[in-house]
Amino acid sequence: MDFLRPDSWADALAAKAEHPDGVPIAGGTDVMVELNFDRRRPSSLIDLTRVRDLSEWYEQDGLVRLGAGVTYARLITELGDQLPGLAMASRTVGSPQIRNRGTVGGNLGTASPAGDSHPALLAAGAEVEVESVRGSRRMPVTDFYLGVKRNALQPDELIRAIWIAPATGPQQFSKIGTRNAMVIAVCAFGLALHPGRKAVGTGIGSAAPTPRVAAEAGAFAGSALDEAGLWESRGELPPSLAREFGQRVRAAAAPIDDVRGSAAYRLHSLSVIARRCLVWAWNDYRKAA
């Protein structure tokens, strides 16, 4: 097996073009597990950790441009204000060791329905920038997930960055697991209030073949809040609205039974955490007045 170590983004793209079946490795917290379990025997590994550009973030055009190789640990300490939902999700990933190495780019590369960054990225309406020697393209993150552990990358493409609007309202992330740390999501939910648009962003994790938005539930909550004039008044959230939101999020999911939990529990718990997330976010919104 070859171990390729490009020093620059251009070299990385060239390496990927030359070795389309080569496996990129960032933090390695998914790749090394797969190799260890003998699930994968790639002909080459393309180490991206020397590509400086990938591990940087900055604001541009009013958006945060998050390099694919920024670790969860840095996200938590550096981006908690701009990207609170993603930072909360990052906080739930694995253990300190995993957060020190794992990256959002790697989470997208794996595209597991249980990846914790996805619900937050969906709720915030993030975009993924991918590139190859042929050129670069940008797509909404919803278009990036194609199936269980399948994403929209072409064989010669790499993920360069994630573009996310800084939060304009409260965000929440909640994840169900059967122990209190270091656990893969049984299901997860991300929520972002976008008061400017009077919209509620949503993201469901681990309760369908891909991460997905609960579009109908989000639209319902956004307009129900609007009809009651609550975006302006910042009045109390009617409990019935929160409950109905939870039910609609549940309706958007299509989970399976597996060793981590039953489909019935996934649906139930998803409706509960969706409801609670909306309540918490709304309470924050009211306090922020």
């Binding site: 190799l35 169900i176 122990r179 893969i184 529990y265 509960v272 955490i273 609670r276």
Partner: protein, 807 residues
């Protein structure tokens, strides 16, 4: 790629000479928290575990395992595997020169399968190659033609007359019957219940591994992490068809055991490969292989019926317990006997009818795990005690106090409990401990997510959270029971090196983490009055120490070392008398012989260095505890156990009742340890055992479907993290033991027995749900999933349902 790394990561090179053990800088005699000699190495990650073993020119061994839980092997074709470059050999059952089966109690498990496959993961062939990756590739090319059969995956179904017999002896491996008192009793109040315990794994961090080195003369040296060298040795002798002296075993660094290392794993396989190839062979399981490569805790189904007087006196207990033993016997017989003898709990029970079964199935083999049959029983009888308390309108602790066993109580087996049996003291101590503050008062903002169910996963800020408190108390035998000739051997050698007396201890006791090496050092320092002491590596050059199981090593190897020290001391003092004419009460202290007559200040006769000079005083002693007897097969009567240990727990939990997630707020425990020879080590055992029990209550389960393990990795076999395991409040009672050395009782297992039951009781208190199965899953707490046992209607007035079996 991974192999290359491990090849270079060498840290221990065994030789055939016994390595010189370092003289430990540790000090501290009995009763002190002497520091473990391996503490620093382990904390710094520098300790050499068995998986670090390495020898020049060694090969790597790999096991070919059956993917099917039940099948017949039609043929095995190794021709493709043999073509792999770098391959050294492929072995199948035909290549086992001696006995083709192994097993501690019943040799019913094939070294390599021929004919029948009885569980998923059963070893079929072995491969050795110059590199682990080569070995794995070659193993994948061993073509086994299986006729796949429907597995028998339910212990009850296995007992049905029309079930296919998985072994020539039939599927019921053991049935222990205990009949005590009136068999047709009547009681004012009767509660029935049915409970279930899932299959827990020991989850030791060190995978099974070892290194076999042929000696060039037909014999072999095996370095391996195991719990009992000599029982492995016996099985090696039988299967390798060698003389005992041709097989020398040395303990390698053990990364936890908890029962998982009592059975043979790589031992015979590595030796077969090494003897065939004439080269050192290392085997080291991956985590996934480890999950199928060792036995697990028996899953159990327990039916109970408790009868009591209206004022809360137990009248009778009827129980039927069925263990799923899996494919092979392992130590199932002893587990079954244990569960039967402890089935009623630490209470005075005038009338009892106990039927305890263990059956063969095509599930993974089950055997020893910390608590050994007592854990499952405790979950059953303590759940019943709470249910009975509810039916009587009594406080659950009061009910237990009213029925608590004490010194002199007769067990259902007719055995009288000798020595302290402080069940009531334990319960009172637990009840008197202050409860942790209720967090309800704190405002939302102040609550740290880590203190809530779900932790930083941010599932609740207090919504749905209810607190519950639960109690449980349990007990268990120490050391081997039922007529087993249980002994431990120790050799102690006193000599003078560089002008200083030094004591060397040699035993085969396995240091599984419990601290038996430190303890041996503490004993010789105290008994012989020397500071410099060494524990030599455990090996088969000295007699058996018995297993590091049944909480027995402090008592047994401790007893042997003490007795050997006494024999050495006697000779040294005799020497002082004969050589120097010393008279009076002679003692050893501070590296000298002293006269310590009553009323007078001790005076020095001679230093040990001067007295001994070049002389070496060495004594080897076999220590035995008092004999026990097997139970009568019809009545279950007999003095099966030599001693008992008691522990109790109080669990305080916060439950998110809507999501079914749990935060254990505090675990409190009280345990009679007899005497704490190393208080810190005792505390460590109490905490670790409590954690392992909490794990069983809340998350630890090997999930099996159709005989196949669904979660053979730490990705989905969850063990508690620091956010799941709260601090433990401990009351360590030291009430002594009239029949053991220093008055000790074993401490390793008791904390695992009552902790699961206490957590379950606390969850019931918080949720009001029956929760008849552990591990309790969020599905059970939220009522989304009914277990088989949950479906049994709850009717305390129901007549006796469990009929005594007559077979």
């Amino acid at each position: 790629m991974r192999g290359d790394r491990s090849l270079r990561a060498t840290s221990s090179r065994p030789t055939r000479q016994r390595p010189a053990a370092p003289v430990t800088p540790v000090t501290g005699g009995l009763g002190e928290s002497a520091r473990r000699p391996d503490a620093t190495l382990k904390v710094k990650g520098e300790f050499a575990y068995s998986s670090d073993l390495w020898a020049e020119g060694m090969l790597w061994g790999t096991t070919v395992r059956s993917p099917h839980p039940r099948a017949k092997i039609r043929s095995i074709d190794v021709s493709e595997a043999l073509m792999v470059a770098g391959l050294a050999t492929v072995l199948t059952a035909d290549d086992v020169p001696g006995r083709k089966t192994f097993g501690m109690e019943v040799p019913d498990q094939p070294v390599l399968a021929w004919g029948d496959i009885r569980y998923q993961g059963e070893a079929v062939a072995l491969v050795a190659a110059d590199h682990p990756e080569t070995a794995r590739r070659a193993a994948a090319l061993v073509r086994v033609d299986y006729e796949v059969l429907d597995p028998v995956v339910d212990a009850e179904a296995a007992m049905a007359p029309d079930a296919p017999a998985l072994h020539p002896s039939g599927n019921v491996l053991k049935h222990v019957k205990v009949r005590h008192g009136d068999q047709q009793p009547t009681a004012d109040v009767v509660v029935t219940g049915e409970y279930e315990v899932g299959m827990q794994d020991q989850a030791p961090l060190g995978p099974e591994s070892g290194l076999a080195i042929p000696d060039g003369e037909g014999g072999i040296d095996l370095y391996v992490a195991t719990q009992w060298l000599h029982v492995d040795h016996d099985q090696l002798v039988a299967s390798l068809d060698l003389r005992p002296a041709q097989i020398r075993m040395t303990m390698a660094g053990i990364g936890g055991a908890f029962g998982a290392r009592e059975d043979i794993s790589i031992q015979i396989h590595a030796c077969l490969l090494a003897l065939r190839t004439g080269r050192p062979v290392k085997m080291s399981y991956s985590r996934q292989e480890s999950f199928v490569g060792h036995v697990h805790r028996h899953p159990a189904r327990l039916q109970y019926e408790h009868g009591a007087t209206r004022d809360g006196r137990l009248v009778c207990v009827k129980t039927r317990i069925v263990f799923d033993g899996g494919a092979y016997a392992s130590s199932s017989n002893a587990v079954c006997l244990n569960a039967a003898t402890f089935a009623c709990g630490p209470y005075e029970v005038p009338n009892a009818t106990i039927d305890c079964y263990v059956t063969y199935t095509n599930n993974p083999p089950c055997g020893a795990m910390r608590g050994f049959g007592a854990v499952q029983a405790c979950f059953g009888y303590e759940s019943q005690m709470d249910k009975l308390a509810a039916a009587l309108g009594m406080d659950p602790v009061e009910l237990r106090l009213a029925n608590a066993m004490r010194e002199g109580t007769s067990l259902p087996t007719g055995q009288r409990v000798e020595g302290p049996a402080p069940v009531a003291e334990i319960l009172r101590s637990l009840r008197a401990m202050p409860l942790p503050p209720n967090a309800d008062g704190a405002g939302e903002a102040e609550r740290d997510l880590r203190e809530l169910p779900g932790g930083v996963s941010n599932t609740t800020h207090g919504e749905g959270v209810r607190r519950g408190v639960g109690y449980a108390v349990g007990y268990k035998n120490i050391a081997f029971s039922a007529g087993f000739d249980d002994y431990a051997t120790a050799r102690v050698r006193l000599s003078v090196v560089a002008g200083e007396p030094i004591a060397e201890v040699h035993s085969a006791a396995a240091e599984v983490g419990q601290g038996v090496v430190t303890l041996q050092l503490q004993i010789v320092r105290t008994e012989l009055g020397v500071q410099r002491a060494v524990v030599l590596p455990a090996d088969t050059q000295v007699g058996s120490a018995g297993s590091s199981s049944a909480s027995r090593q402090t008592w047994m190897t401790g007893g042997a070392v003490k007795a050997a020290c006494e024999a050495v001391r006697e000779r040294v003092l005799a020497l002082a008398a004969s050589k120097l004419g010393a008279t009076g009460r002679l003692v050893l202290a501070d590296g000298a012989v002293l006269v310590a007559d009553a009323g007078a200040a001790p005076t020095r006769v001679s230093t040990l260095a001067d007295l001994l000079g070049a002389e070496v005083v060495e004594e080897t002693v076999e220590y035995r505890h008092a004999p026990t007897e097997d139970l009568d097969p019809e009545t279950g009567q007999g003095n099966a156990h030599v001693g008992f240990a008691f522990a109790g727990h109080r669990a305080v939990v916060d439950v998110d009742t809507e999501l079914g997630l749990v935060k254990v707020v505090e675990m409190a425990t009280a345990q009679d340890v007899g005497r704490a020879l190393n208080p810190q080590a005792v505390e460590g055992q109490l905490q670790g055992g409590t954690a392992q029990g909490l794990g069983l209550a809340l998350m630890e389960e090997i999930q099996i479907s159709g005989g196949k393990v669904r979660n053979p990795s730490f990705t989905d076999y969850l063990i508690p993290t620091i956010l799941d395991m709260p601090p433990v409040r401990m009351d360590i009672l030291e009430l002594g033991n009239p029949v053991s050395p220093y008055g000790v009782k074993g401490v390793g297992e008791p904390p695992t027995i009552s902790s699961p039951a206490a957590v379950a009781a606390a969850l019931r208190a918080a949720t009001g749900r029956a929760l008849r199965r552990i591990p309790v899953r969020p599905e059970h707490i939220t009522g989304l999933l009914e277990t088989r046992t949950d479906a049994v209607p709850d009717d305390p007035t129901k007549p006796a349902r469990i009929s005594a079996e007559t077979q």
